[in-house]
Symmetry: C2
Subunit: 177 residues, 2 copies
């Protein structure tokens, strides 16, 4: 297998807006090329439906969209439950990567899971590093750990130059979710 | 109208990967919230079908996806034709912004059109600055001009930290298009 045909490990990090939306766009682009995608949201969760979730339901033949967290932040009222959900989502991701069913697996907001020690970090880097040839992996989230940057093929830092929250404009439907 | 309800001008710039994919994700998110989107590609064009184009055809009730350029680069064999196409696409965009039909208008790779002087820059900043309330605009492309940054509500610089092209891995289907 040539290098060109092997799957890329892509990391979208930084404090600016555009990480998850870029991962969604990457999933759409891959899906439009007939590549089956598994998109796992590690933090967002619950019954609440984001815009992307509603569109992805229409593309269910192309994208398996899994919302496996339970909220927006790590200011948690139940850290044990968060840990259990993160483990479950990571087990799901590991299976998806190994399954041969997907050409792309997106681990949305996964850096938080790594950085907060919700999963075994050595195991994470092993699974990512030994992914099957041809499987692209996209990881999003702030503060990508150096070890992840080291093994990645592509890293983009989304740097905040200007953000409306700083002007007092609140998060709004269609933009932030 | 409160500030919160007014449309944002968002600029995705920088030399890293993630600008167009983020705009696609933003369009998907808005569309999933029932907001009609007009997505105009200023540079890409022709018969050739990107992954995003193929998926957007399935979402035609939510997203008007217009491919109005004719190629990948400005190393043009026919600058007059490029200028004519850019003018046409900008006229289309101006109408879309004013029409009241769309809650979001994406001008993909539009910074190149501005920077190469393909359209009247003063007119561009006037149209963007005087957009109707409630219309979000997303502009992508490298080297966003300072005047655009000044009037934008949100600016993210996609900074290249690591890119596979530097390792000799070529552009590939599903990742770059």
């Amino acid at each position: 297998m040539t290098e060109q045909a092997s799957g890329l490990l892509m990391v979208l990090t930084g404090n600016g807006k555009g990480k998850t939306t870029s991962a969604i766009g990457q999933a759409i682009r891959a899906a439009g090329n007939g590549m089956k995608v598994c998109f796992i949201q590690f933090i967002k969760g619950g019954d609440w439906k984001s815009g992307e979730r509603q569109v992805m339901e229409r593309l269910a033949d192309l994208v398996d969209f899994r919302v496996m967290g339970r909220g927006f932040t790590w200011k948690s009222d139940d850290p044990e439950k968060d840990r259990a959900l993160a483990s479950e989502a990571w087990a799901y991701a590991t299976d998806a990567i190994a399954s041969g069913q997907y050409r792309m697996v997106v681990l949305d907001e996964f850096t938080y899971v790594i950085n907060y020690g919700m999963v075994d970090q050595d195991k994470v880097f092993e699974v990512l590093g030994k992914r099957p040839p041809g499987v692209h992996i996209v990881i999003t989230g702030r503060d990508a750990p150096l070890e992840l940057v080291d093994i990645a093929d592509l890293v983009t830092e989304m740097r905040e130059v200007k953000h409306p929250f700083k002007k007092g404009i609140k998060a709004q439907r269609g933009i932030e979710f």
